[in-house]
Subunit: 319 residues, 2 copies
Amino acid sequence: MSKKYAVGIDIGGTTTKFGIVNKAGEILKQDRIPSNVHENVEDFIDELYSKLMPMINEVGGIEHFIGIGMGAPNANFYSGTIEFAPNLKWKGIIPIADLMSKKFDLTTKLTNDANAAAVGEMTYGCAKGMKHFITITLGTGVGSGIVVDGKILLGHDGFAGELGHTVIRHGGRLHKGTGIRGSLEAYASATGVRETAIEFLTENPEQESLLRDYTINDLTSETVYNCAMQGDNIANHIFEFTGQILGESLANFIMFSSPEAIVLFGGLTKAGNLLMNPTRKSMEANLLPIFQNKVKLIFSELKEADAAILGASALVWNQ
Amino acid sequence: MSKKYAVGIDIGGTTTKFGIVNKAGEILKQDRIPSNVHENVEDFIDELYSKLMPMINEVGGIEHFIGIGMGAPNANFYSGTIEFAPNLKWKGIIPIADLMSKKFDLTTKLTNDANAAAVGEMTYGCAKGMKHFITITLGTGVGSGIVVDGKILLGHDGFAGELGHTVIRHGGRLHKGTGIRGSLEAYASATGVRETAIEFLTENPEQESLLRDYTINDLTSETVYNCAMQGDNIANHIFEFTGQILGESLANFIMFSSPEAIVLFGGLTKAGNLLMNPTRKSMEANLLPIFQNKVKLIFSELKEADAAILGASALVWNQ
């Protein structure tokens, strides 16, 4: 019997999203559970099972499914394990693909969450047909998926593509999670934009800004966006600063793998041209002439949650 | 008749080296001509032909040859052209693979000189059997060849792997050839080491140093090495500074493609542990824990000229 459906699961730091996907890339059903309630990965899988099985049965049962694709932080495609993920409760090396496979009796493939998103873009999104591209997720952190010759770049050990942790400002802002100074993620993430806002407001106490009306807890990348849209100078300057750093990093990435496109997605892309314009300008200014005006810089057209679920499901369609 | 030999040619900024290579990777004969005497690429090819044909005939004639492999700056593997090479006399787009192929009546493959060296390492050198590694040439400039899944990473347009031009010091030293500030090549090349020496001597006028006995023309990376070996503080500090910057760049590269090894070669590697120790220390300090103490950092065991000729010849063996 030819298989009609796949399960796609995206394990995020706070929420796990999952759905039933058909071959055309339509998400027929989807739901979510918190990622960090269960101390024990087996209990987490039990909850996932209790939510997923009714959905699976509604479309005709497990025999119509080709498998389960999962994206997760610090996931290793080769071994199917999540390894020392700082944002998840389960410590050490978690053989989650094996555990899922036994629980559901379905082939289970696992990859890094950012890689899953890249597979989603390649299979169903704006990178369809491209052989060389990079996706950058600008969310709470900065994730990346690199596609080379039509395949996710995994590297020697399965951990390639940690571009958020590359250093772009020597001796710069401390990244509290890693202890590394000046990494891209310290600036071009929602967390980074918030830190930039606090820095700019503190360093320019005389300069008026709508941002001063917010409590420190309400200073988020959304607040900065809203104030920038109202013409606030500091808020606009925050996006220019963020775009400049992001653009320099993108130029470095281009000179590494010479992609056809860079696809940006995640919460920060809601800033639209406020972020895109300074990013593109800075990217082009830092490229050798042979790379200039060649690389498409685009926002993903997939919804973020959808990209991750679709990408995870595509792991089993493409096997 | 099974073919026994290949021609390997390495076109450098000043010298073109070429040789006859057998399948075992032995260079049976080799010679060199200047690269930049002929305004016209056809005249250059004529000189190459007049030197190569006697060598070819000595081993039995052209019918024993599988083809010609060439490495050159700004070379495009896909099109067989050298494009806008700043260090060569021939301007614009030069279809050198086609011209060579017609002149010699042999299949001719062209690739970037640094990529040719990486192929040499993979086929005959210390990266034999590796599927994921990066070679970095620390010469007059900084070249790089990236191997992913056992193949040279070419990217969308054939120009991937320009790691010497990635920025590692925002707003840092001006690279005169490119106009980019703070690129790796501005520091971790023979030219960069010389500039660092001049900077350190100028900025610390009180500090004694053996380097002050040399004229500005004699301040080379070799001079710095010789003085460092005699215990000179400034000279030692120059290698520490260079290694620190190189190590930070290598950490960024590792978090991109997660290679099994990084192979360093070129003139600067003669500095041995003076360069290797600070480079390794800085590389490890800038890596996420999942990458630490995993990646081999090694000096090439091939002679530089040999690596390029061997790598170029391997292009036709491996086709």
